[in-house]
């Protein structure tokens, strides 16, 4: 069975795997333009640009170089990353250039501290 599983896969930024990732979501959306004329019952749309984004949740570990790079990028450095890879398994990934658009650190009783990161693609997403 070729169904993929979370024990394989990883998220990497500029070639460095991010550690302690507990959840990651890649979303691709396609913009549409409404071209429905008057007098028809069903909407008609025109395909516009594609976009993609990645949301990553980690158990927060400031000593993790991948996590630290993201936090540094957002606070004092460049928030644009040229190589973002969402690995489905050990070798296949969806990759592109993206901007880190948010970083949230959460402390909550009963849970490890969490680091939530959101990236928005600013170029094509390629699967390889």
């Amino acid at each position: 069975m070729a169904v993929l599983k979370p024990t394989a896969g990883k998220f990497s930024v500029e070639g460095s795997a991010m550690s302690h990732v507990v959840d990651m979501t890649l979303s691709i959306d396609i913009g549409t333009g409404d071209i429905t004329p008057i007098g028809v019952s069903w909407n008609q749309v025109l395909e516009l640009q594609k976009g993609w984004s990645i949301a990553v949740v980690c158990n927060y570990d400031p000593t993790s170089s991948g996590q630290a790079a993201a936090v540094t990028g957002f606070t004092t450095g460049d928030a644009t990353f040229t190589s973002i890879n969402f690995y489905e398994d050990a070798s296949t990934s969806l990759a592109g250039s993206a901007i880190l658009t948010s970083a949230t650190i959460t402390k909550s009783v009963g849970s490890p501290d969490k680091l939530n990161l959101s990236y928005t693609g600013n170029a094509a997403l390629a699967r390889s």
Binding site: S19, H20, N59, D61, G110
Partner: protein
């Protein structure tokens, strides 16, 4: 190969309980710590107060995607400490309440335990309900959460 983390946790629990002495800032003077509890009647009164820790059920789950970082598994181990106190007259309640506090203090603040674990939570206290004159027997339950690498086991 190094001891399992579960083994190291229990070693640290025993060390923490053995440290319960008035000279160490506690209210109680624990005289005996053992993992073998065979009933309060089997313990000589000269060994009381006594504590009997045991590692019980454990839940395990994945904690990270992939196999990176070395902490891709979570273990949630329940440790129960059964304690026995005795006073021939009217101090049983004081001995019980003091030791309840001291056991929790020793486990939750044990430096070695903290180093091994992610979180130590005191969860429940169960007593004998005053069924045995002059004795008090009670269980304290702790949920100990730790992370480990699936390649090594917990």
């Amino acid at each position: 190969m190094a001891d399992s983390i579960r083994q190291q946790i229990m070693d640290a629990v025993i060390t923490s309980l053995q440290s319960i002495k008035k000279s160490g800032g506690y209210s109680s003077e624990v005289k005996y710590v053992s993992e073998s509890y065979q009933g309060y009647e089997a313990v000589a009164k000269s060994k009381l107060p006594a504590c009997f820790p045991i590692d019980t059920e454990e839940r395990k789950s994945y904690e990270a995607i992939g196999e990176i970082g070395g902490n891709n598994m979570r273990g949630e181990l329940t440790v129960v400490v059964t304690s026995v106190v005795f006073h021939p007259q009217d101090k049983t309640r004081a001995l019980r309440t003091n030791l309840l506090r001291d056991v929790e203090k020793a486990i939750v603040n044990g430096a070695t335990l903290i180093g091994l674990t992610h979180e130590i939570e005191a969860q429940a206290v169960t007593t004998d309900g005053g069924q045995i004159p002059n004795f008090s027997i009670f269980d304290q339950e702790f949920l100990i959460t730790y992370f480990y690498d699936s390649a090594n086991g917990g």
